[in-house]
């Protein structure tokens, strides 16, 4: 049987009905990882995966329950899983072994999931193409010559390439949604605080969230419910009840108020995605939704604000990598200062260094007010503008990216790479939930993603609309 053809929910049922064992599934997906090694999506297959699958099978036989009992899962290489390597695709952490479980790993294990490996990414999640990994580039699952997107490129390719039914990524400025869009799958960046970040190696703490990456909207809704909730170890995780997201999927969108943002429409003008985006809006209207014109006046400043706030936080978070506590120390260091400088210079890649420098620039005296404080103030302004939007709308629609996945090696200029995030960054700056689902094909026959956003903690509304589009909008 070709198990990659089944959705997560189908696999959960097959395991429950004992039409397949976890051992069979796990061996199958591990063989797929081996077969598609050239994609370089998975950095390591964990050596205890098959044993864990056998244990899951025993539990299934004994009649035990678990929402993911026996399901193979792949995690991004910046999520801690006790006893396993976690390198953040950096040379700096090449030998780092996690000493505790992240909350998300704990939740997967509690539900009986079998974590089979860790996926490639841009180093420390900095990048939009998975070309910044110290362990080689990852290839797009649908076109070998193109980027998979990033930073969670390996996780997206793992699902789209049929290496597992579900994976986890992290999203600081679009790092779940953009690779999902480029590989034609579904991914969500939940509301800030919906999922605990405990045990996720920090890049920009105030912006990032873990997000599930799946083949379908319903799979994603199922997975988000499992991962969400307050954690005592993460003060920023929200103490707000977790909804049953699947039950929020009603199969109709009558009277749904969909916001169409003026500034986004202007930005989209002339881009590959524009025409089909307008078509889907018209189709939604003819299916009973109301299109509401809204405005996010400072939309164009989300990108510059992000490239101030994120590097500022990154430079602080990466200060811990000093050559003393974690994994790497330069052989050439002769004194303590050299331990810091040489270990960091040898251990970090070019993009990580660039962002550390940028972070130190915007935080240094003389520039702090003009850059960092100003960006934080604009962020507050943007949040106020978003409040007004959600007084009138249930959801807000953006494209996920301007066009299809670009060719490997084609973007060498950092600013053009940063602009890749122009439609995804808004949700991180605002803290609101945002999901991408494939909704069209571009001129090279590769997928384009549609982004659905909602007010804080209203992921249910997103899933309802996304599922409706997935099942009724004809584009394939």
């Amino acid at each position: 049987m070709e198990f990659e053809k089944f959705t997560l929910l189908e696999i959960v049922n097959m395991l429950k009905n004992k039409t397949v064992s976890s051992e069979q599934l796990t061996k199958y997906f591990i063989s797929k990882i081996e077969e598609k090694k050239s994609l370089n999506a998975v950095l390591e297959v964990f050596d205890d995966a098959i044993n864990l699958a056998k244990e899951a099978d025993k539990k299934i036989q004994a009649g035990e329950n678990g929402k993911l009992l026996g399901v193979p899962v792949i995690i991004k290489d910046n999520i801690l899983y006790k006893g396993k390597k976690c390198t953040c695709s950096s040379k700096f952490l090449k030998d780092y072994i996690a000493q505790y479980n992240s909350t998300v790993v704990e939740k997967i294990l509690q539900e009986g999931g079998v974590i089979i490996g860790r996926a490639n990414m841009d180093e420390f999640a900095m990048g939009g193409s998975t070309e910044n990994s110290a362990y080689g580039i990852t290839h797009n699952a649908l076109d070998f010559d193109r980027v998979p997107g990033g930073s969670s490129g390996g996780s997206a390719v793992a699902v789209a390439g049929g290496l597992c039914p579900v994976s986890l990524g992290t999203d600081t400025g679009g790092s779940v949604r953009q690779p999902c869009s480029y590989n034609g799958i579904v991914g969500i960046k939940p509301t800030y605080g919906r999922i605990s970040r405990y045990g996720v190696v920090a890049f920009a703490s105030s912006l990032e969230q873990v997000g599930p990456m799946t083949k379908t909207v319903k799979d994603n809704a199922y997975m988000l419910q499992i991962l969400s909730g307050k954690s005592i170890n993460d003060e920023t995780s929200a103490d707000i009840p977790v909804e049953d997201y699947l039950s929020q999927i009603k199969g109709q969108i009558n009277g749904l108020n969909i916001g169409v943002c003026k500034e986004v429409m202007q930005m989209m003008s002339g881009l590959e995605v524009e025409k089909i985006f307008l078509q889907v809006l018209e189709w939604l209207k003819s299916n009973g939704a109301n299109l509401i014109d809204v405005s996010l006046p400072n939309f164009d400043l989300c990108l510059p604000c992000y490239y101030i706030i994120a590097p500022a936080e990154a430079t602080s978070n990466l200060g811990r990598f000093d050559g003393i506590k974690y994994s790497t120390r330069s052989d050439k260091a002769e004194n303590v200062d050299q331990i810091y400088t040489k270990s960091r210079s040898e251990g970090f890649g070019k993009e990580v260094k660039r962002r550390i420098m940028l972070g130190n620039f915007v935080l240094s005296s003389g520039y702090f007010d003009a850059y960092y404080n100003k960006a934080k103030k604009i962020q507050i302004k943007l949040k106020e503008q978003a409040k007004d939007i959600f007084k009138k709308c249930d959801v807000l629609l953006f494209p996920t990216t301007a066009s299809e996945a670009f060719k490997l090696g084609s973007k060498t200029d950092p600013v053009s790479m940063y602009k890749e995030d122009m439609f995804t960054i808004t949700a991180n700056i605002l803290g609101i939930p945002s999901l991408t689902l494939p909704f069209a094909k571009g001129k090279s026959n590769l997928p384009l993603g549609l982004q659905i956003m909602a007010n804080n903690f209203e992921e249910g509304k997103i899933y309802n609309l996304a599922d409706y589009i997935e099942n009724n909008w004809r584009w394939k």
Binding site: Y100, D322, K353, L358, I378
Partner: protein, 96 residues
């Protein structure tokens, strides 16, 4: 106006505890300039009436301040590139 030059880049490298060759820094300066041009767009936005708060998150759900067993010394030191007798090893800092 030029926002960054070689000397400023060198100062930033030192603040960042990063070493660059002269060639690397020379290549870095124009790239950095472009990034700053992009982020500078924020300058024209009026934020006069905005009260600055760094975190919009309310500190209301702090857990009880009780000690709990954390990681063992061995676990903490396991990832250190050099350790001995329960300590991190660093080069000598004080004269004999």
């Amino acid at each position: 106006m030029k926002k960054i030059d070689f000397i400023e880049a060198k100062r930033l490298a030192s603040l960042s505890a990063l070493d660059f060759s002269e060639e690397e820094l020379n290549a870095f300066v124009p790239e950095f300039e472009k990034i700053l041009d992009m982020v500078e767009q924020i300058k024209n936005c009026n934020t006069e009436n905005v009260d600055l708060t760094y975190s919009t998150h309310k500190l209301k759900d702090l857990r009880e301040d009780k000690s709990k067993v954390g990681m063992s010394q061995d676990e903490v030191l396991l990832n250190s590139p050099k350790s001995k007798k329960g300590c991190f090893v660093v080069p000598q800092m004080l004269e004999d």
